[in-house]
Point group: C2
Chain length 183, copies 2
């Protein structure tokens, strides 16, 4: 095989990984899996798609080596394949947020909808999150987190905080995000 051909296929193979990330539904599934392993139907419900569709997306992610699956009983549990995958997803989000005006606007609408944050604080937090300097940690209960959260935030309710903390990237500053009586 010529060097040129090898080179071409090499880039094409890397592109396949990007292709696997090139779907909003798959990104959403990935984000849920980043919080821990989940069954197919749980992921389908979270992302709001049919089970068959979720299954296909999960297989696409698995073919790209981004997630792994484990079968237990009649359920199949999917999880991200490694920390580097989460980092890649974070990097993608960071670039998207800083480069696409469109995303910035959506993030603002999102925050506006919630309307529960002191604006200056929210802006500052987002600015730092955009630079990839911090991991945003959302310590509100799961239901509230599901109802709306900062993009890319990791949800770890207070009661699970200690046990899950070890899973987070260690080199980055961590900012806890919360509100209400829990703080």
């Amino acid at each position: 095989m010529s060097t040129e051909t090898v080179k071409r296929e090499l880039y094409q193979s890397i592109a396949k990984v990007a292709q696997a990330l090139a779907s909003g539904n798959r990104l959403q599934l990935l984000e849920f899996m980043a919080q821990g392993e989940r069954s197919v139907d749980a992921l389908a419900a979270m992302a709001g798609v049919t089970v068959a569709n979720a299954s296909q997306h999960l297989q696409a992610l698995r073919r790209a080596g981004l997630v792994a699956a484990r079968k237990e009983g009649q359920r199949v549990y999917y999880r991200v394949a490694g920390d580097d995958v989460v980092r890649l997803y974070d990097g993608l989000r960071v670039v998207a947020e800083s480069r696409l005006a469109e995303v910035r606007q959506l993030v603002n609408e999102f925050l506006g909808d919630r309307g529960a944050l002191e604006p200056v604080l929210a802006e500052e937090l987002l600015a730092r999150a955009k630079k990839g300097l911090v991991t945003v940690l959302d310590v509100r209960p799961r239901e509230e987190f599901e109802a709306g959260h900062l993009p890319g935030a990791v949800n770890i309710p207070m009661d699970r905080l200690e046990s899950e903390l070890a899973r987070l990237p260690k080199k980055r500053e961590v900012v806890a995000y919360c509100r209400g009586p829990y703080c």
Copy 2:
């Protein structure tokens, strides 16, 4: 707009960035641009595609906010939009190399073809590069670099070394890669 819809569009917007990276040709163009700004026809020649095709790919990258363009005379010079884009590309490559057996095999063929490196050293270098710990710096002359180089390596010939060194990411260990009388 409902929170659900906003969420969906947000993920879709992030996916657009991944979509922009989901083409071997665009990745190759991006890698060339990471070395400095280049004109369309220079990029087209490097990637081995027609000028019209390169132009379209570059516009796709620009729409995603990954590259920027500057017009000077009758030429248009494209460059990566920021360091975070290069980091994202690196992250993508790292994940691809560690997750896809296919990529590992291609890398090996590539190194095998060259056959100019002491195997143990090459393995070790690649292993560290995979972990994202090092920037591989190829200091051989451009022609030799074009003929074949480690994936993701940055080519800076010796004579331009000093002036270009400032452009490299600062937090990572840099490994110079060379051979022959230049070392």
